[in-house]
Structures are given as C-alpha cells and as structure tokens.
C-alpha cells in the first residue's frame, strides 16, 4: 500500500511525535476506532487510553490523556494534554500515582477529596502502566 497516514501528536508542551504510519487505532470517547489511509474527515474526542500505530517496522504504543483526533486528507492530528511513547513512560511515577489515587479513593467518605479527580488520576496511571508494559 503506497498510501500512508501522516501523524502528528501534539501536547501543550511540545510536538510529541511526527511520523508516517500505516494505521492508527485511537481510544475515542465513544469507543475505539481505527483510521486507515483514505479515511473521511473526522473530528473525535479521545478518552484516556492507548494509541496504537502500525508501521512497516511493527507496532508502537503511545499513552494519551483525553483530547481530540482530527483526520483530514490522510493527515491525523492528535491533540492531547499529555502523550508518552511506551518506552518513555516513567513506570515508577505511574505506580506512585496509582497508589496515591487508590489511597484517596479508599478514603472517599471523609468528603474532603475530589472523587472524580482521583478516579481520573487512577485511570491515567493504570493506562500508563498498561502501555508501558508493551515496550518491545
């Protein structure tokens, strides 16, 4: 297949990744979706999760926090608050964030802690760990 997708992953801190790929699988807020070359123009919100890129050299996994995906003329732009390639994930930090969030959730009845925030933090940590495990 000659056609390829041009992929940019952008976070407020930097351009995380810019690459040519064969396929992108993204964690849409309404469910996971895949993008192949020739996809229709699409604008979708993304959930916290894992972005999978298929390249001729194999698969790459990128952790993404919530944001957007825009597909236009075989150009995929992923706009997220943070994104980390599986090999760049700080496992210890994610581990620490996980236990911190769990700890908070276990003490929810004292009312002082924002449950929703802790849940989101836990979700982020779990997905980070999940993606980090896929380093090849």
């Amino acid at each position: 297949m000659a056609e390829r997708l041009k992929l940019d992953i952008v976070s407020p801190d930097k351009l995380v990744l810019s690459d040519e790929v064969d396929e992108v699988v993204a964690p849409g807020s309404e469910g996971e979706f895949g993008v192949l070359p020739g996809h229709l123009a699409l604008l979708a919100t993304l959930d916290i999760g894992e972005l999978t890129l298929r390249k001729s050299s194999g698969f790459e996994h990128v952790f993404v926090s919530s944001g957007y995906a825009e597909v236009l003329n075989d150009k995929v732009t992923i706009l997220v608050e943070s994104a980390e390639n599986s090999r760049d994930i700080d496992v210890n930090r994610a581990q620490a964030a996980k236990s911190r969030a769990e700890d908070r959730l276990s003490r929810t009845h004292d009312g002082s802690i924002d449950v929703a925030r802790a849940e989101v933090a836990l979700k982020r940590a779990l997905h980070r760990l999940e993606v980090a495990r896929k380093v090849h």
């Binding site: 952008v10 407020p12 801190d13 807020s29 123009a41 979708a44 919100t45 957007y68």
Partner: protein
C-alpha cells in the same frame, strides 16, 4: 573634593555591582532561551485548538454552550499576570498601569471588577490599594505548564458559568522580541468567535460524539490554552526585560567606573603636584 580613598572605595563598590548585574544578565539570558523554546513548543497545540474551535464555533449558535453566552455585563474579572521579582525595567509597571487603566474603564462603565492576581507584583499592588484579589498565585516562574494554566483558568471558567462574572479579561506582557515587550489586554470570555473563518471552507467532518459534545469539551481547553500562552509569553518577556535592564545597568556601571577612575587619577595627580610644590618650595627656602 572627595578624598582619594573615598573614590577608590566607590570604584570598588560599583565594580562589585557590575559583577552582579553582569551575572544576572547571564542568568536571564539562559532562562530566556528556555522560556522561548517552551513558548515555541506550545504554539502548535494552541494554534490547532484555535483552528478547530473557530471552525466549529461558527457552525453553532451562541447559546450552544454556556462559555459562548454573551450577557449584559455587570461584573467583570481581570486576570493580571506580572512577575514575582523586580529588577526588570518597566516590565511590571507597564502591566500594572494597564491593569489599573482597564479596571478604571470597566468601573466607569458601571461594572464591578474582580482581579485575579498572578505574580507577587500585582498582589502587592492590590494590597497597597486595599483591594482583595479574587484569587492569587505566585512562585510560578519556571514552573509554568499546562496544568498550572488549567488551574488558574478553571476558577475563571467556573465563575463565568455560575454567573459570578460576565466577562473575563487577561493582561500580560507579550514577548515581541528580546528588545520589546508589549502589554496585551484582551477578553477571553465570552469567546469571540467572529474572527473564525466561516464554515464553508471547512470540509464535511464526521463528528464523534457530536458538534456540541466536542465543542463543550474544546471550549474550556481553549481558555486554558489562552491562559497558558499568556503565562509563557509573560515569562519569556520577563526574562527579556530583565536581561536588557541588567545589560543597561552593567553599561551604566562601566561608565561610572570610567568617570570615577578619571576623577581618581585627577585627584591623585593633583595630590602629587601639590606634594611636589611643597617639596620644591621647601628646597627653595633652604637654598636661600
């Protein structure tokens, strides 16, 4: 006429001041470089968000989302960003002046004004005037990132949604170039969507979940991004202002050292001449 020793002492003191200003200039130069690269790195994200938003917002009506709502304005909030530290020329003064001007203008329109203070200088300024800020932040220098901006912006967004405020402005120093900073004061809420290109040049997009859903998600982020940009610009501008202020101070110190050295040499020469005259006068007297 100052004594030789006095002049010498002054030269030494000006020299050590010059050392300090020189060092501060170098530090600022290094920080500026970092701040500038942060600013450039943040640009693609904010540009893309703005692009998406202007495309979307022009295709929905003003009441599609609370953050787009234009109400009669009776209460306004101004987010003022200054530095924590001084010694950067007119950097802080300019921002404070602009803030005072805007607050006075809003007040003259019969609006009650709240100020969100970002940076020690605006905080102190408000305190002097006996005003209480709606919220205050400090110690952000070098630590600005998206989550910081989001925290600052969240308060403003919540206030706006709950009707505590009807308008939100932001004032900060924009980084024009290393030599120029420019105070910017702009309205961030309600969002101005008129600048967006019209919907016709947007291709037909599939939306997931829906235009409204995406918009609801995008708008608060857009506000965050604007605050983030303000913070980053301000940081770069602060270091640039400090750098040129310190450069000027270093130059002034050098000039002063030059002038003092000249005075010192003159005084020394005068003293020597005086002594010589005495000796010659004495010798002449003995001869006679």
């Amino acid at each position: 006429m100052a004594s030789l020793r006095d002049i010498k002492r002054r030269i030494a003191s000006v020299k050590s001041t010059r050392q300090i200003t020189k060092a501060m200039k170098m530090v600022s130069a290094a920080k500026l470089r970092r701040a500038q690269s942060r600013m450039t790195e943040a640009r693609p994200y904010s540009r893309k968000i703005a692009e998406m938003l202007s495309g979307l917002a022009s295709s929905v009506s003003r009441d599609a989302h609370p953050l787009l709502a234009v109400r009669d304005v009776s209460k306004a909030t101004v987010i003022v960003i200054t530095a924590d530290r001084g010694l950067c020329g007119s950097f802080n003064t300019n921002a404070l002046k602009a803030a005072d001007r805007l607050v006075a203008k809003l007040a003259s329109e019969g609006k009650s004004v709240n100020v969100v203070a970002v940076g020690k200088k605006i905080k102190a300024h408000l305190k002097r005037k006996g005003a209480v800020p709606r919220a205050e932040w400090e110690g952000l220098s070098g630590k600005v990132d998206y989550s910081v901006a989001a925290t600052i912006a969240r308060d403003a967004v919540v206030d706006f949604e709950e009707g505590v405020t009807d308008e939100v402005y932001i004032i900060f120093n924009e980084f024009k170039s290393v030599a120029t900073q420019n105070v910017v004061s702009k309205k961030i809420l309600p969002l101005d969507t008129s600048a967006g290109h019209d919907a016709s040049d947007m291709p037909d997009f599939l939306f997931e979940p829906s235009v409204e859903g995406i918009l609801g998600n995008l708008l608060p982020r857009y506000v965050n991004v604007q605050v983030l940009q303000g913070l980053l610009e301000n940081q770069a501008a602060e270091e640039a202002a400090r750098m040129s202020a310190m450069e000027n101070a270093t130059k002034a110190a050098s000039d002063m050292i030059g002038a003092l050295t000249l005075a010192y040499n003159k005084a020394r020469q005068a003293a020597i001449t005086g002594e010589l005259m005495d000796i010659i006068g004495g010798a002449e007297a003995v001869k006679q």
